[in-house]
């Protein structure tokens, strides 16, 4: 089920919130678990068993790790949880990628499996892995209540597109959390900010991306509009989803970690990844990079560590070579930035420009259907694709989207949030902000009612 759907906003959410707040304290996690299973099953009724199996697997492995007497058995149960869950992730998400790559490499004709990709499998697998790893490390005791644990794994606000909430971050709130009117108001505001980002901004930029793809009148200027539109589309889509998840969590008494911190203000690729999808970056840092030795190893080994982590980061985003290459591009940029300290001395504006060019080109690679298409798209951006500089289509869409681009550029900075805070500090502002958010709800509803089905980009991850 999509957050940005009439079904979610006007059927599922009101019903679940009603039941949740009417339920006695001891029943709230059960309500959340059942609602989350319905939420998951709504999109994937035939794969509901996979969610139930994942909950059972990690619950039992967590208990076994917690109660095992020897290190050897703890490690055994940890490995069981890793091998089985990563195996399922590999089977559903990567099997066809590996088979087709193998076929291309060896000339074999192995048949593809064509398995449906379970929604959000990368997110909930990584979340669950953080649980057994942290229990193994002794950072957190195992959860004994299967209902509470199930509610954590399947929790609908962040089930399908993050942020990746580690068990340790919400362990206390799972067992005992408080609800307040202030938290609810903050959560509603945050949810509506995310809804507006997704429906009004991301979906309109997605339309321009699609128009470029379908256009028979491409030009260099149109190619740049496409690249920038996709860069804004993916940011508002993904950060909008994270805002909605964090807002819903807040209403329900949870405090989820932030996932974005204005990444398009970054002045280096390194800084970009400190601001973009922060929970994924943190997960790879703590559970892959540091266990591999991090940067406290020889230079050669450090380079291998960086390349490995970024290749996996790319692969996490999708089972295709352009995603792998996308991850490796960032690995190279990060290594270059670490090896060339002189880069830090360049003027801020120049560093920002370099970073944004790198990000825009990387997202062109990210959004391509194949490496060859990525090559063509990049050649078009550089004026090497044989396209005219400008066509009527580019002029038309530039005029039509000019204001949306300006809104997108400003919306990717902290200015709107600062302005909102300043306005809400006044008495008039405190009521005006709610009029604004009511307007956001109504306009988003209007877009949903008028528009067609528009899935979140990050669903495929």
């Amino acid at each position: 089920m999509l957050f940005s759907s009439v079904t979610f906003l006007y059927y599922f959410l009101p019903a679940v919130m009603g039941l949740y707040f009417l339920a006695p304290r001891g029943w709230k996690n059960a309500v959340l678990l059942l609602a989350s299973l319905l939420f998951y099953g709504w999109g994937e009724p035939r794969l509901l068993w996979l969610m139930v199996f994942t909950i059972a697997l990690f619950y039992l492995c967590g208990l076994a790790i917690g109660t095992a007497q020897s290190r050897k058995w703890k490690k055994f149960w940890l490995l069981v949880s890793i091998v089985v869950s990563v195996g399922l992730l590999g089977l559903f998400k990567y099997a066809d990628f590996f088979i087709s790559s193998m076929n291309a490499l060896t000339g074999l004709g192995l048949p593809l499996l064509h398995l449906a990709l379970p929604v959000g499998i990368s997110f909930y697998t990584f979340q669950s892995l953080s649980y057994t790893i942290d229990v193994y490390r002794g950072a957190v005791p195992p959860q004994k209540n299967p209902i509470s644990f199930g509610a954590y794994v399947a929790l609908f606000p962040q089930l399908i597109a993050g942020p990746i909430v580690r068990y340790v971050d919400v362990a206390r709130e799972l067992d005992s959390r408080s609800h307040s009117w202030e938290d609810a108001m903050a959560g509603i505001r945050r949810f509506l900010v995310g809804l507006g980002k997704k429906v009004i901004l991301a979906d309109n930029f997605a339309l321009l991306v699609e128009l470029f793809r379908q256009s028979g009148e491409k030009s260099v200027v149109f190619a740049w509009m496409y690249a920038i539109a996709f860069t804004l589309n993916i940011y508002f889509d993904f950060s909008g989803y994270s805002d909605m998840a964090i807002g819903l969590g807040r209403v329900l008494g949870f405090h989820f970690p932030e996932n974005f911190n204005y990444p398009y203000l970054s002045r280096s690729a390194t800084e970009f990844w400190r601001r973009w999808h922060m929970t994924l970056g943190g997960w790879f840092r703590d559970y892959i990079y540091i266990p591999m030795g991090g940067n406290r190893v020889s230079r050669g080994r450090w380079i291998v560590n960086i390349l490995t982590v970024w290749m996996l980061t790319g692969l996490w985003h999708g089972a295709a070579w352009n995603f792998v290459l996308w991850g490796l591009v960032f690995a190279v940029l990060l290594l270059a930035e670490k090896s060339l300290p002189g880069l830090q001395k360049l003027p801020d504006g120049l560093r920002w420009l370099y970073t944004m060019l790198a990000v825009v080109f990387s997202f062109v690679l990210f959004n391509a259907d194949s490496i060859s298409q990525a090559g063509r798209d990049m050649a078009n951006l550089l004026g090497l694709g044989g396209l005219p500089l400008l066509t009527d289509a580019a002029v038309y869409y530039l005029k039509s989207y000019a204001l949306l681009f300006v809104v997108g550029f400003v919306g990717a900075t902290p200015l709107p949030a600062r302005l909102g805070r300043r306005i809400s500090e006044t008495r008039l502002g405190s009521i005006l902000q709610w009029a604004f958010f009511a307007g956001v709800l109504l306009v988003c509803t209007a877009y949903l009612v008028d528009g067609s089905f528009s899935p979140f980009l990050y669903f495929r991850f």
């Binding site: 759907s5 009439v6 079904t7 006007y10 059927y11 009101p14 099953g41 709504w42 999109g43 009724p45 035939r46 009117w181 609810a184 108001m185 509603i188 009004i200 309109n204 028979g216 009148e217 009527d392 289509a393 002029v395 038309y396 005029k399 039509s400 989207y401 000019a402 204001l403 949306l404 809104v407 809400s424 500090e425 006044t426 008495r427 405190s430 009521i431 902000q433 709610w434 009029a435 958010f437 009511a438 709800l441 109504l442 306009v443 509803t445 209007a446 877009y447 949903l448 009612v449 008028d450 528009g451 089905f453």
Partner: protein
């Protein structure tokens, strides 16, 4: 403290709006059809344990179609899209001087060639050697007059007209100079019948028929006309008045639907309650029909291959012929025409809009 209280009131009001819409979504009686969109609306599906996915898809459609104040929300979206985001079109519909038009872009040369291939085939199999007087005319859509001067994308009309002008088996008549934007409905794709006398005269002249004086009486239909773009644009546009041209000749004409054998007048008043009021002209979409003029001064027949633009124009040709046969190959296969019609010395008119030529997949 007071500020918090004000904020709380604001939040409660927002939740009240949310709750009211939720209540409406759950409990409002479902509508059967959307008049503005001219389509049936999805109804609550029955749950099928064997096909839960199918139920989910249909339920999503149902929630969108039956959302309370659906038309108002669609209008809000359009207004926001045009006036706040400053987008030049909404779902490819744009407005110029109160005229709604759809961006028909780009020119699909394959589609035009496909249509011309169909027409050529009709000529080769039915007309060649049987009917010598053949005229071909293209009805420009509104975009021809509105798009380019106002910065909207449109098909390459020059290229399209150059493709149709060179047909060696038909005489081409250029209609572009005879029409202006005012000759079309503001809210619809179609042209206004009361503005078509110059077009009718030009076509009759090309067919070699005597051009009448056009002594018609305009009659306004009472029911307001909401064209197809009214629903698609979802903007607060005023409804229009549809006018039909009557005359003694037209009142004496007998229209026969060859599909059903049903006889009616040139204007089908049974269609006054139809979702599309334009169906009043010759009963709307019909594959084969005839207009017989019993008091015609001479026996001369015309066959018109046409789309919906022909419905309002062809009555204006009726005075000059004893019988007109209308053929719409969107609803009857062009390869089976000789089974239904006899081609024997009739005049022939091909009258197709740029919209159909650019989207000819519908031609059979």
């Amino acid at each position: 403290m007071k500020q918090n209280k004000i904020g709380s009131i604001g939040c409660i009001l927002l939740l009240a709006v949310w709750a009211a819409l939720t209540f409406g979504a759950w409990f409002a009686s479902p509508e059967a059809v959307s008049e503005s969109e001219r389509r049936p609306l999805a109804q609550l599906p029955a749950f099928d344990f064997k096909k839960p996915g199918e139920f989910i898809g249909k339920f999503e459609e149902y929630t969108l179609d039956q959302f309370p104040l659906r038309d108002s929300f669609r209008r809000l979206k359009s207004l926001f899209h045009y006036h706040v985001l400053n987008q030049k079109d909404n779902n490819d519909i744009y407005l110029v001087n109160g005229y709604a038009a759809k961006m028909e872009y780009p020119l699909n040369t394959a589609s035009v060639n496909r249509a011309l291939g169909k027409f050529r085939n009709i000529y080769e199999t039915c007309l060649k050697g049987n009917c010598e007087n053949i005229v071909f005319a293209v009805v420009p859509d509104k975009g021809y007059y509105l798009a380019q001067p106002n910065g909207y994308l449109s098909m390459d009309y020059d290229a399209l007209f150059s493709m149709v002008q060179g047909l060696e088996w038909a005489k081409y008549v250029d209609l572009t100079e005879l029409l202006r934007p005012e000759d079309y409905y503001r809210t619809d794709t179609h042209w206004r019948q009361e503005k078509l006398l110059p077009v009718a005269q030009a076509l009759l002249a090309a067919l070699g028929r005597e051009v009448g004086q056009g002594s018609y009486t305009p009659v306004n239909l009472e029911r307001p006309f909401y064209g197809v773009y009214y629903g698609q644009a979802a903007l607060p546009m005023e409804p229009e008045t549809m006018t039909i041209l009557t005359s003694q000749v037209l009142e004496s004409c007998i229209v026969t639907n060859l599909e059903t054998g049903k006889e009616s007048g040139v204007y089908d008043m049974d269609k006054l309650e139809s979702p599309d009021l334009y169906d009043v002209y010759l009963s709307g979409a019909v594959s084969l029909m005839t207009i017989e003029h019993p008091n015609a001064p001479e026996e001369k027949e015309l066959i018109v291959f046409r789309d919906s633009f022909g419905s309002s124009l062809v009555p204006l040709l009726a005075e000059s012929y004893s019988k007109i046969t209308l053929v719409d190959i969107r609803y009857v296969s062009s390869q089976m025409l000789d089974k239904f019609l006899t081609f024997d010395g009739q005049d022939v008119l091909f009258l197709y809009s740029t919209l159909i030529l650019n989207n000819s997949a519908t031609l059979k």
